[in-house]
Amino acid sequence: MNDRALWPVLRQAGGKDPLALGSAAQSQRTADWKARTAGAKVVKSICPYCAVGCGQKVFVKDEKIVQIEGDPDSPISRGRLCPKGSATLSLVESPLREYHVKYRRPFSTHWEELPLERAMEMIADRVLKTRRETWEAKDDDGNTLNRCYGIAHLGGATLDNEENYLMKKLYTALGVVQVENQARL
């Protein structure tokens, strides 16, 4: 029989909780409450802010992140997160996050919409045009340069190793040497 059908005082008197500090005092509503992480899939992750490298547990329910918290398994962080790490859910769901490409023409006063595929095509064209126009085959003394000096890159240090690898590989093949990141700053 469901214990909670009885009056609390009866539960207290007849049940296992004579002091009414636990189950005897709990209402059905409280008993029904579930953590928002209950039943969520846990995806193991790493905090994206500083380089301490704290472990994070990302809780996913219905293809949506419902909670991000410290991973007690991590031997470095032992479950802890700092104020920034604790705010990671708000970071990935920031009200200021935008999800569509924006385009500003030269001398224009406003943004325009631009489909992603079109933007990719235009950027590829810009890269090749600037590469063509600023190509340096040799220096004044005839030493080989084989580089494109008209394009520069500044990339964050919160990117993945795999991303940095593809960047460096592509830029080097294009002859772009001015490739830099936050480590310099």
Binding site: S45, I46, Y49, C50, A51, G53, C54, G55, D73, P75, I76, R78, K84, T88, S90, L91, L96, E98, Y99, V101, K102, Y103, R104, P106, F107, T109, L116, M120, I123, L128, R131, R132, D139, N143, T144, R147, G150, I151, A152, H153, L154, G155, G156, A157, T158, N161, E162, N164, L166, M167, K168, K169, L170, T172, L174, V179, E180, N181, Q182, A183
Partner: protein, 875 residues
Amino acid sequence: MGTSFGRGGATTFQQDLQNSDCIVIMGSNMAENHPVGFQWVMEARERGAQVIHVDPRFTRTSAVATKHVPIRAGSDIAFLGGIIHYILENDRAFKEYVVNYTNAPVILREDFKDSEELDGFFSGWHPDTNGYTFETWQYKGMQMHGAAGQREDQSLLAKVPGLKPGEDALKNGEPPNMDKTLQDPRCVYQVLKRHYARYTPETVARICGTDPQHVIDVAEALCANSGRERTSAFCYSVAWTQHTTGVQTIRGAAIIQLLLGNIGRPGGGILALRGHASIQGSTDIPTLFNLLPGYVPMPHALAHDDLKDFIESEGAKTGSWGNMDKYIVSLLKAWFGERASEKNDFCFDLLPRISGDHSTYRSIMGMLDGTVKGFFCIGENPAVGSANSGLHRRAMANLDWLVVRDFSEIESASFWYDAPEIESGELRTESIPTEVFWMPAAAHTEKDGSFTNTQRLLQWHHKAVEPLGDARSELWFYYHLGKRIKEKIAQQEEPFSEPVAFLTWNYPEKGETSDPDAQAVLREINGWDASGKALSDSNSLKSDGSTACGCWIYCGCFKDEVNQTARRKPGTEQSWVAPEWAWAWPANRRIIYNRASADPQGKPWSERKKYVWWDEENGEWTGHDVPDFNKTKRPDYIPKTGAKAEDAIAGWHPFVMQDDGLGWLFVPAGIVDGPLPVHYEPHESPVQNALYSQQANPCRQEFPRTFNESNPSPSDEHGNVFPFVLHTYRLTEHHTAGGMSRTVPHLSELQPEFFCEVSPELAQLRGLTHRDWATIFTSRAVVEARVMVTDRVKPMHVDGKTLHSVGLPYHWGSRGLVTGDSANDLLGITLDPNVHIQETKGLTCDIISGRRPRGKDVPGFMNAVRTRSHLENRT
């Protein structure tokens, strides 16, 4: 650290701090900026360790330290020099370690002259080029080669006539001229002693604005907590690197740690605390102009005609860099696949050449000058985050095109309509030619990939959900951009198209958005053998083209076809070293140079500090970590003359990356501004150099131009116009330029407003009121901030003069949930000559009460400031 020990990475790991008997935190506010890592400092303190915080400000790190020593911003080398002086004068070095594991006994050349002899310069100075030539810094009778450090300066690569390279010069594995009694006046130990003879506690205290007793106390704490039974550690972050003497400051700590025998041992080491999730990774697999993956240098136009040349001049003959041919050939195989063969030099000719400094500040100057036309700004916000951010905004307003990828529309994407220069009328939206593409980026929860943390640890994060809308990972962006460019190049005529056409670019695509498989990229970074099987470590790399490897120091991260970086055996279920949590480079070693944790005979220095030792019975090195040494090389191994690469390293030399296997107290190669650290004043300083007539680092890189003027310093005329020290820093609740924190409601609420920290004395002097406004200006810019009057900032008494300082957190900009002026607008661009990092932790400024001028009044105000300091005559 690279120049002292051989690798540019933290020598230890955060958890190992718990084993320290004394921790010196300097150039870092660890408790506030790395709070979770700081738990290991607290563990050590609980176990009785001393925790010393040396910093201009009293912060939460100081609050829990056992001792706080306030010193003037920019005086760190003097303070460290004072500790070195104390160790040497009182004969407190760990002699057995120093004699066997460092270059202290090495005899230097007769023609080497120290900065003490030449008033702040070393021998080899050329005033006409503002730089050094380096041959006099070499060991007597041996050509040394920098395992790390600067290589883009062509003269560094020059061979010194008459000097033999390591393979021929090393005698029984040791440099040819040594005095193990350390008595020879030309041995490194004695040179070091003379170099720091004048860095007495009194002199140092006078320079640093602190008490001589503080210098003695810190030095004594370090000496008392070093040796066989005890170890001490140093922690630092950007308050050491962001100076015109940044590299030399870290060198100062390296000298102390080598003299005290604290490198390669548990509880010892130097821990660089880095501020971005994968900043170590982005130098290991560098998005840096002068490097290829794994610290292999970019080919230089004047030095490297072909692959043979490159290997000849860049690879050492002895030490791990003796394997340069294997590293570069395997990299070229990873990039150019079947196309790279012995016949065509493995496509070495397809690599572009550098010809000097092409670092980001040079690129900015190029944008202003119109030579740089296109710019990719990826997860970075230079319009707020870079020194002299105003100059960056002007530079970006002069581009043909700009691609910005971020979570939201950051200041670097919006400058063309809302920069302060638009408000002041100095720039007009309708006149800015820059075509801007803003693209939404995916968050770490929306992509697979690995970060390399501050202790060289690669940790995998798994994708939790798909990114929304057009948001994509950088992996997606670069993969698909590359794919398109490859298609176009196949169809149209382009200059030198082979490198793009030949580039291997086949990664499996997944899902609706055709996302490239990040694990496939990691596997390429790890590399494979001739049969296509994943390599297990860098020892299996070959120079004949049969192996491919995208980054040799990461080789092993995909060992046994398993993503080792995704290993997550709970810390509680393994030893304190936790070797089965993720994967550290190199070869999963957590403390590097750990051969030094045993004595020359291979026995632990003490039971208490046991870590890696020689197991005579099994004939191998063993212990709590992966030995950073050839596993079966005996501790008494004596190399034959002519031995190459690692075979040339003696069994008792732990620093295997160096060509002599020794820790370098004195750096004979790889550093451009001196073999030993010298105290120079910051580029902008309110005082004169008390030790030398040479005021600042003579090799520093300056960019004198309009909008990047320098404030005059005291020996100059009008040196008193900017009387206060300015330094910038970070807060716990924000992240650099704010792109990942001013967009976050919780964090914005916790730290809503830009403020300046001043002492009550300065507040009184300038009439500043707590919580009211102040205007701060330099010759570059003017900003306003809320005033925080606090005892945490104390006036310093330097050389009889009272010095006040203004502290500024630099997180704000014109956008985000909370806005404010950018402190970085105030900074000038002047750089360390080795690594091209700017000086932000010690400049000068002025501060007045009230709000700043607005709109069109700003240029007028700035012109008046420039006139007062007579800058028109200086740039």
